[in-house]
Symmetry: C2
Subunit: 585 residues, 2 copies
Amino acid sequence: MYRTRTCGDLRLADEGLVVTLAGWVQRSRKMGGMTFVDIRDRYGITQLVFNQEIDAPLCEQANKLGREYVIQVTGTVRERSNKNPHLPTGDVELIVSKLNVLNKAEVPPFTIEDDTDGGDDLRMKFRYLDLRRNAVRKNLELRHRMAFEVRSYLDKEGFLEVETPVLIKSTPEGARDFVVPSRMNPGQFYALPQSPQTFKQLLMVSGFDRYFQIVKCFRDEDLRADRQPEFTQIDCEMSFVEQEDVITTFEGMAKHLFKTIRGIEMKKPFLRMTWQDAMKYYGSDKPDLRFDMKFVELMDVLKGYGFSVFDNAVYIGGICAKGAATYTRKQLDQLTEFVKRPQIGAKGLVYARIEADGNVKSSVDKFYSQEVLQKMKDAFAAEPGDLILILSGDDAMKTRKQLCELRLEVAEQLGLRDKDKFACLWIVDFPLFEWSEEDQRFYAMHHPFTSPKPEDIPLLDTDPGAVRANAYDMVINGVEVGGGSIRIHDSQLQDKMFKLLGFTEEKAQEQFGFLMNAFKYGAPPHGGLAYGLDRWVSLFAGLDSIRDCIAFPKNNSGRDVMIDAPAALDESQLDELNLKIDIKE
Amino acid sequence: MYRTRTCGDLRLADEGLVVTLAGWVQRSRKMGGMTFVDIRDRYGITQLVFNQEIDAPLCEQANKLGREYVIQVTGTVRERSNKNPHLPTGDVELIVSKLNVLNKAEVPPFTIEDDTDGGDDLRMKFRYLDLRRNAVRKNLELRHRMAFEVRSYLDKEGFLEVETPVLIKSTPEGARDFVVPSRMNPGQFYALPQSPQTFKQLLMVSGFDRYFQIVKCFRDEDLRADRQPEFTQIDCEMSFVEQEDVITTFEGMAKHLFKTIRGIEMKKPFLRMTWQDAMKYYGSDKPDLRFDMKFVELMDVLKGYGFSVFDNAVYIGGICAKGAATYTRKQLDQLTEFVKRPQIGAKGLVYARIEADGNVKSSVDKFYSQEVLQKMKDAFAAEPGDLILILSGDDAMKTRKQLCELRLEVAEQLGLRDKDKFACLWIVDFPLFEWSEEDQRFYAMHHPFTSPKPEDIPLLDTDPGAVRANAYDMVINGVEVGGGSIRIHDSQLQDKMFKLLGFTEEKAQEQFGFLMNAFKYGAPPHGGLAYGLDRWVSLFAGLDSIRDCIAFPKNNSGRDVMIDAPAALDESQLDELNLKIDIKE
């Protein structure tokens, strides 16, 4: 071992001890005849002292150390005269008697500090240096701790972690698979799993009763800021359970994580909200409930007064921003611009301030009497100083989604999206199907194995669009951290589902045949859930993107710019795989 | 929840309780007016009782249950008159008052029993039914428990589990990579990692200090019985360590596993054996030390007496099988056939029995006097009743390997390879290079980053073949369960290694460039180890193959016969990937 202690653990009680440390040179400075060097490792930073008067050659040597040199030092622990209360080791320093340069370092392309001068691209190219920064390493320490606590909790609850295969079979439905040519089976391909869905259901058929796996999944999609081609799921499945059992178990896991990782004791059950209510009151199936601003519908209040925008609308709704009547005209114009951006697509924004005397002053005063405006005020239970923001449109769902964006933006501006506050809820009663206007057919909202609510089964024949699913999502701070469903275990019901989803018997057999066959040999009632580990970690770390809680992430083109992957193959490799590149111009 | 208790937990103390169980019908039998049904879940088996006299319709219903039906029953726990001491629940039975068939089952293609009537192919095709068998499920429960204990141990030792990417870059050196075409980067491919070697070394450069990961790795090799295209490694790396530190840490892990999983306390340090000694005395770098039979060299003893086979040999060596003088002529002929098989390739076998009076009776008596044979006996310290078996050849290493096979075979026959006995050791001081006669060049025995022993560095210039590596393997019962090395952290030494391995500067840069570049920014001394999880589990489970400790293994052609993967892709998928199939006839 090159050290007897780490750079993070020396304290006043160690005074007088002779210790050996090893680590990186964080910084060094000369003051008079003294040279001070901060040595850093994963565990912390310790100040080293070299004294020109006591050992000139050693001090000379220290003066030559560059940033990020790897060194080994032996010395005596001494109390610091000039203590640093910001460092756990700040009460002591090491009077060095021996210095050994283990490795030199070129000057890194950016500073290894919490606030680095490195841009995103540079940090990604030199990710191994970026990972030296406290801020990034802490996220990965958190990730380790969270995965560990997930396993502890699930193990105690009787779950078995079972590894399912990575080299599986492509299923054309849904998002694109990554595929892997097989050398031993010419012309054939494996696929990488988008989720271990089929395998976990097979494990239930096998009687494993409670399965989980923290597992890499893969999706060859065009990437958004918060997506990676490979991502990590906490994948779970249970037998002989109903929706309530799954929710209880995984709410328990969430509470365990909050308690062990963040020290937050959540005693009350999480709020449950139907999908209908979530869409109606927040315009989203993942509402951020750290703050209020519930939608208020205003069709009854504002229609029919000659303001054609509202008179022709199918939906009029608004939010009340507490205390935001101070918004200037400029701020309101910016909000109007915000909702008119093509990504959001609203036509305009109506606002109304509640003045100190209780009067309402709106942007559409010429159409509405104070009496009507007071009614509107009452609908929001608005108070002096509040700001009411209203959108309308000819498609209720679209307008609600626009209002959702506005709500989040205003909350952001008002500082209501506090990263240290957590609002957890379950969204339940999802529709079983989504209707596609484009394809004129139903799609499974979750997946084709999701069970309808037993009481809604008769509606499958009469009104499929109204059937609710035994499906549930957990939402924290407006982020969907996981979701799942009770699965269909009855083969007749499954057949009916396939028919409603437009599968011919042959196609259903081709795609899901082996799972359907497995079900013939005694499938238990079962259901499960998958949590996104990346999202959980980024939420607990207070990050806006999942990228910085992944050690070696890929960029938006799916490239690892550090190792420069993907890359071309040798012709001989392609030959062996019986493949030819065929790029269309 | 469909149950209030599991099928494994009812005891005499529960007598009189009304409980609900759910599970599979293991078997049922009618006796007089009674029907007995064994219900099974992951946790055990409970006997259900239906009484014709008490509830005839219910009993009728029970009589219709088939094997593997999924049922839910409610009833009262009662003491059994006819207790079954082999079952934990054997003191009680459930007098059923309510029966609910949750799912019917077709008759499975083989019996769900420890001793099944299903052949290998059938079991693999219906793996989800095979996994219902206790014997198979127990292996996966063991695997879960072992992975959990590995994580507990390493977490306590300060290791962080960091996920490294699965979509990486192909490195042409060594075994074949599986590759993944990139749709977003036409003509380019990712590769699946054969190990996270580069990434774990980068994490050391990043100052992670102690890394581990239980991780899937991939190798597109022609498969042997004990290989899978995807396998699981316990991958570890540490900074600021020397060989002794790595060995201590991971010997600690082995002992932790033996203690927590098998209840075996191993107090003594594991034996260490140099690679040279392992080859000399056991003809293998993974000797099985559950039994003795160390090789004895006989060149001095048996050469020069006119037996031309020995007189012309470069190596003569043998083993002494205690108490095996009772071997019949037929058994000895079979052993001779065994060593002459082409896979082993010996020319013949010489044997000698030590008789009750101490005389030696050998198959080459006409060449040797009793005096010479007594010298040979002394060389083995053989005693009356022992059997000496001797091989010779013109290549010492080859002959030793043949003798190794013979040693293992004889030990097998003598029942010395007890699966409940564990002999652990470290093989150390591996040669750094292997010379390839075919290519007339050196190859790295471990990998090109393995550090030579500091005292052997001068030999790099004069006698590379004699340089020993800071590399180590852990061997248990003749199985290499893991291995690793101290890595080179000095870039000049690394350059020298590349040169000795025949890399041009360009090629080294192309293949390992980004790792070499990373090392320029301050690489700490580091080293690590990877354990094979599959092998550890199969060892602890007493399995001959790793297959039955993997939930969904592939066969020897790399196929998953259950899901029928790999498979052909749609033309449109290939198009999107800019690929064409090009099978050469």
